[in-house]
């Protein structure tokens, strides 16, 4: 009953937000300065725009870290290479390698506190639990970047920086080191065997680029890459009528969906070093 009440509150809240949005949208149309009827009618809102992307190749070394990890965090060093055919559209590839992958507090806790007995023998190594926790080892993502929003910002009214907001969308190939499939006695060994596999998933997100000069820019990017994997090598699924109970085996049934996310900081260098100007 209580939940229903809050669902009602959710609906009311969303309806309120939509209502306010509609109100605002109407006023926006009236306030747009491009609705001119004089000689400037139809003119672009920005002339002589520095086109930081159009016709330029960019290489951007990057550092990334994952978010909301349950058993292991990953810090990725990589780079994005992009050719921008237009100021709003670029094609490229992102690649990265997981250089550091520390365990979370939960993994440390399991390592020190989990009982090692027949009930946990399939799931917890007798030695180091961390050794059976999965790793993201590498990722390669062919992708497109779409930059619909281009502008500038003033910092403390002193520093002015050209900026754009872009969306990226690609197909990612993610190298994983994950617990190997096993059944029966092979699952209860003291040390759990590991195996490599490649997970394929959509990659998408958005980012900002701050053009501090004609050559150099700084980037801040969010990336989501959802796929299913067995993050800690645990037997969680495959048994019971609906397959939601342990079956004393490790296999693909134990891979559960995770909305993987990471934040990337980058420094980009664009060539040729001089951007073109729009009309």
């Amino acid at each position: 009953m209580k939940r229903r009440n809050f669902r009602g509150a959710y609906a009311l809240g969303i309806a309120g937000l939509v209502g306010l949005g509609v109100l605002g949208a109407e006023r926006t149309a009236q306030a747009e300065e491009i609705q001119l009827t004089g000689p400037l009618a139809g003119a672009p809102p920005v002339r002589k725009l520095r086109q930081h992307r159009k016709g330029r190749f960019e290489i951007a070394p990057a550092f990334s870290f994952t978010l909301l990890d349950e058993y292991r965090r990953t810090m990725v060093v990589g780079a994005t290479a992009t050719y921008n055919a237009f100021d709003w559209l670029g094609f490229g590839v992102y690649g990265g390698y997981g250089v550091v992958a520390p365990l979370t507090a939960l993994s440390e806790n399991v390592n020190t506190s989990a009982p090692r007995n027949p009930r946990t023998a399939v799931n917890v190594a007798k030695g180091d639990f961390g050794a059976q926790v999965s790793k993201m080892t590498w990722m390669v993502v062919p992708q497109v970047q779409i930059a619909p929003f281009r502008g500038k910002l003033a910092i403390l009214s002193k520093v002015f920086v050209d900026t754009d907001l872009y969306l990226h969308l690609g197909l990612g190939f993610h190298g994983l080191e994950e617990r190997a499939d096993c059944a029966g006695g092979a699952c209860t060994t003291d040390v759990k065997a590991m195996a490599s596999r490649v997970a394929i998933s959509p990659n998408f997100g958005l980012g900002f680029k701050f053009y501090t000069s004609k050559l150099v820019n700084f980037g801040l990017e969010y990336r989501a890459f959802p796929y299913s994997w067995n993050r800690a090598g645990l037997d969680q699924r495959g048994g019971g009528n609906d397959g939601k109970f342990p079956d004393q085996k490790i296999d693909s049934n134990d891979q559960t969906f995770k909305f993987n996310q990471m934040i990337t900081l980058s420094v980009g260098f664009a060539f040729p070093s001089q951007p073109s100007l729009s009309e």
């Binding site: 939940r3 009440n5 809050f6 509150a9 809240g13 309120g16 937000l17 306010l20 949005g21 109100l23 605002g24 949208a25 006023r27 926006t28 306030a31 300065e33 491009i34 001119l36 004089g38 400037l40 672009p44 809102p45 920005v46 002589k48 725009l49 520095r50 978010l67 909301l68 990890d69 349950e70 709003w88 939960l106 806790n109 399991v110 506190s113 989990a114 009982p115 009930r119 946990t120 799931n123 917890v124 619909p148 929003f149 281009r150 502008g151 500038k152 910002l153 003033a154 910092i155 403390l156 002015f160 900026t163 754009d164 907001l165 800690a232 645990l234 037997d235 969680q236 342990p246 559960t256």
Partner: protein, 329 residues
Amino acid sequence: MKGIRRVAGCLLAVSALVAVPQVALAQKGGKKPPAAPAAAPAAPAAPAAGGDAIEIDDPNAPKKPDTPPDQPATPPAGGVTGGICDIDPTACPKQSDIKALADKKVAAEVYAVEQEFALKKGRVEVNPYGAFTLNDQFVSHPAFGLTANYYLTNVLAVGINGNLFAGLNVDSDFNFQNRRATRVAVPLTEYQWSAALQFSYVPIYGKFSGFNAFIFNYDVYALGGVGALSTRPIAVIDPDNRKFDFKPKIDFNVGVGFRIAFNKWFAATLELRDHIYVEQLENIQVGRSQAEQTDPNTWLGDKPLTNHIQAQLGVSVFLPFGFEYRLPK
């Protein structure tokens, strides 16, 4: 329209360039003008005193004729005409200086954001939003919240903020899976409400062109505040015996937000807010005897410093709806 504004802007800039040095030089260097004739202050109507140099501050003052019929064309000895070249000949611009200035190369590109799109000083911002947790993979704490800010200046505001979490906390499936597989439980907590007094500061503003077809303005703000957050442990270690009540904790807030203006009074907001507080967790040890298990003094465990980072999506309404710029664009 924009062309006219640019021309007007250029004229204003040129006027400023011409006027600024004069005003500055007139106040320069403690070189007081020679003592004016004693009659000058006593007889403001007498044009010979030269005091009418302050016409710049009084546009309604009667203009002095260039050469009054009853005055000599040259000023009296020791008098002041009001011209900078007479007051301080060393500061008098030379023709060569003006030529050098005229030849000086200037960057033709325009960098600055010309004018802040929506002034905030003296206005109240009402910001309802929905929030979700960014950094807790075990329990998410979605909330509905409201922030009300009063802007003391265009960049500094004082305000209040409140969140309602009660009934919205979601215990992830993952907790159960992990407990079942490893026999290790993660202590969990749930939130009820939070309230805080806060300051916010707007160091960054700018504008974006969308597809080179329309323009919208945005700003970025930082905030800091202090208040209370009411939380309690969820009994997962020994749910048969333990029950917990909500208790408020001191809650420090820091955050950063991004606000997109649709018009002068309506905006969309995205904010990241970190609630920093000392959490009270459930004791992961269970007493051996029934008496120990039912003793509330054995139920509570660690008190870690906790960061709860939430993302807030909402809208902002500025009241009053309208305002006037102090200077024309």
